[in-house]
């Protein structure tokens, strides 16, 4: 491959990012780097007050890891992170001697930082991609549109190219993993002024969706708070997290932080119990293809049953109280 068609792959890790997503992004970037013989840099942004250094995992490709520290990074706002990422990308050590593909973690923060960087650096913004390819001097991104109903294939030759990547590819078992070369990169450029932010006390004590092994999720078919109360009890009994579809957020039965789907959270638990959820593409787009779905729905023709491993056709009003009783009596049984 000639140098002119080579691209440096740069992964920007945000301090606000979930560890599992970080891991799959790094593995996907390493796979691209070894397939296309592209150099791989990892830029891990860290605030001055953040003491714990991100552990650098072994990767199936040679990589250079930059621990970027800025004493002034107190507030982890996206405009500060975008500014710090821009400073890192302009640093001599990472100078753009060749075209770059800059990857950010999926989710609202990653999308925003990628967009801001593309805007400032006159780059191309490929958006939230599910797959990325390098084809000579071009980058090809595949992403969803129309609520997950269509796939767009976008191509750009722009020297600076920005995307977020939600990759479900796992590294091959046989791949030899090596530790990246690790360096510190201290930056001191001006950051945007911090704005006045105060946290609102959390009333929702259930575990968050991130990293949950089991998710109990409800849809419009739950018809109100009463049904969600039962789902909450079942989730608690199983040490699981509670989620829901977009209409349940709009109805006020769960907070938007628990919305799963194309425009909500992407989750990858072992088990996803979907109750009163029809199974639209917009909702399924938020569930990993590796997750086992178990569905409860009164409509035997609901599309959720075509993606579920097991299903119960019936009214949740009858099935959920019986399920909760059974879970409680099983827990009470002597081991």
């Amino acid at each position: 491959m000639s140098m002119s068609s080579m691209r440096r792959i740069v992964v920007v890790l945000l301090p606000t990012q979930d560890a599992a997503e970080q891991h799959s992004l790094l593995n996907a970037a390493a796979a691209m780097s070894s397939d296309h013989h592209c150099p791989l840099d990892i830029v891990a942004l860290r605030g001055g007050t953040q003491v714990d250094v991100t552990p650098a995992p072994d990767l199936p490709a040679h990589a250079t890891w930059w621990d970027v520290v800025h004493d002034g990074l107190v507030q982890l706002s996206t405009d500060s992170l975008a500014e710090l990422a821009a400073q890192a990308l302009a640093a001599a050590q990472l100078a753009p001697t060749m075209p770059r593909l800059v990857l950010l973690p999926p989710g609202p923060d990653g999308i925003e930082v990628a967009a801001l960087l593309a805007w400032r650096m006159d780059g191309a913004a490929l958006g939230q991609c599910m797959k990325l390819e390098i084809d000579g001097a071009a980058v090809i991104g595949h992403r969803a549109g129309h609520g997950g109903r269509i796939m767009l294939t976008l191509r750009t030759q722009q020297a600076q190219c920005f995307a977020t990547l939600r990759a479900e590819t796992r590294p091959e078992r046989s791949a030899l993993c090596i530790a990246p070369d690790r360096h510190a990169l201290a930056l001191s450029g001006t950051l945007p002024e911090a704005c006045d932010v105060t946290s609102i006390e959390q009333t929702d004590a259930l575990p968050s969706l991130e990293g949950a092994k089991l998710i109990v999720s409800g849809g419009r078919g739950m018809q109100g708070d009463e049904g969600f109360g039962l789902l909450r009890d079942i989730a608690q009994r199983l040490n699981g997290a509670l989620g829901g579809s977009l209409p349940t957020v709009d109805a006020g039965w769960i907070p938007v932080a628990r919305q799963i789907g194309q425009s909500g959270k992407f989750v990858s638990p072992r088990i996803y119990l979907a109750v009163g959820i029809s199974g639209t593409l917009q909702h399924l787009a938020g569930i990993s293809s590796e997750t086992t779905i178990i569905a409860v729905n009164k409509d035997p023709d609901a599309p959720i049953f075509s993606v579920a491993e097991a299903g119960a056709v019936g009214d949740w009003r009858e099935i959920l109280p019986a399920l909760l009783d059974r879970l409680e009596s099983t827990a009470a049984e002597p081991a």
Binding site: L116, T156, Q158, S199, L214, T280, A308, A310
Partner: protein
């Protein structure tokens, strides 16, 4: 106080996609069967709530449409806004987020007076994932917050309540500002009054025309229906009455799923 709401609209997601999926067919679907997305609705409702709180608030809406007869203009105007404009950005493909952001920012700069607060749904249309809204704020050079549920105006600042990861927080931003608004129980769009629907039916709308060239550095090379997610084996349907189904469900959940 002048508030601008930028509303993109989507093609009704309940309708089947055209058999031959191409950009033109998708644009036609949007033009013939437009709806406000849940995020457009949230942005519009937030503007209306701010006007409820202060009747001196003026609301202008700008809606990207291909013609002044687009039904979305009437839908929006029926909520008794002060002004509703169409914005012709047909020449900018919807996946060119930076181009759409340039155009929206250019359209805002034609407004007189300029808005102090710009509200946009967290996704702008059928092909956006949040990139466009962030870039519109950047293009306008205004303070910005994403995932906002509610806003209170205080002189030259706003206090916005927003989602940040798993937690909610209150942020104070100087005006002028841009907020991307998320769906929430608090921002479910109200129904228009019948008399305002009738008034909107008779309205004529103006288009904002943009003459300046719009940058575009991304090309669409293929469009296809998303692959349908299927399973190799059929779903195991649990037999029996609710109690029997519940017993097997409990077994399955405890065997595979328990987070302990």
């Amino acid at each position: 106080m002048n508030i601008l709401v930028l509303l993109c609209g989507i093609a009704d997601p309940k309708l089947p996609l055209p058999r031959d999926i191409n950009a033109l067919a998708l644009d036609s679907l949007r033009a013939a069967h437009p709806l406000l997305s849940p995020f457009d609705e949230a942005a519009l409702e937030l503007a209306l709530k701010l006007r409820d709180a202060d009747p001196t608030v003026h609301i202008t809406a700008v809606v990207p449409v291909s013609s002044t007869t687009d039904p979305l203009l009437r839908t929006v105007a029926s909520l008794r806004l002060d002004q509703t404009f169409g914005l012709d950005i047909q020449h900018i493909p919807s996946w060119n987020s930076l181009g759409v952001a340039h155009a929206c920012a250019a359209a805002v700069s034609t407004l007189d007076p300029l808005p102090s607060l710009v509200l946009i749904g967290r996704e702008f249309g059928d092909c956006d994932d949040g990139t466009t809204t962030a870039c519109i704020a950047q293009a306008l050079g205004m303070a910005y917050s994403k995932l906002v549920f509610s806003i209170a105006i205080e002189n030259v600042h706003i206090h916005a309540v927003r989602q940040n990861g798993a937690r909610q927080e209150r942020v104070r931003l100087p005006l002028p500002a841009v907020a991307s608004v998320t769906n929430d129980a608090r921002s479910k769009l109200r129904h228009p009054l019948l008399k305002n629907v009738m008034v909107a039916k008779k309205m004529t709308f103006k288009m904002i025309d943009l003459s300046e060239p719009i940058p575009g550095n991304v090309q669409l090379t293929a469009l296809a229906a998303a692959p349908v997610r299927t399973r190799a084996t059929t779903c195991r349907m649990l037999p029996g009455n609710a109690q029997m189904q519940a017993n097997v469900l409990a077994e399955l959940l405890l065997a595979h799923g328990s987070a302990r």
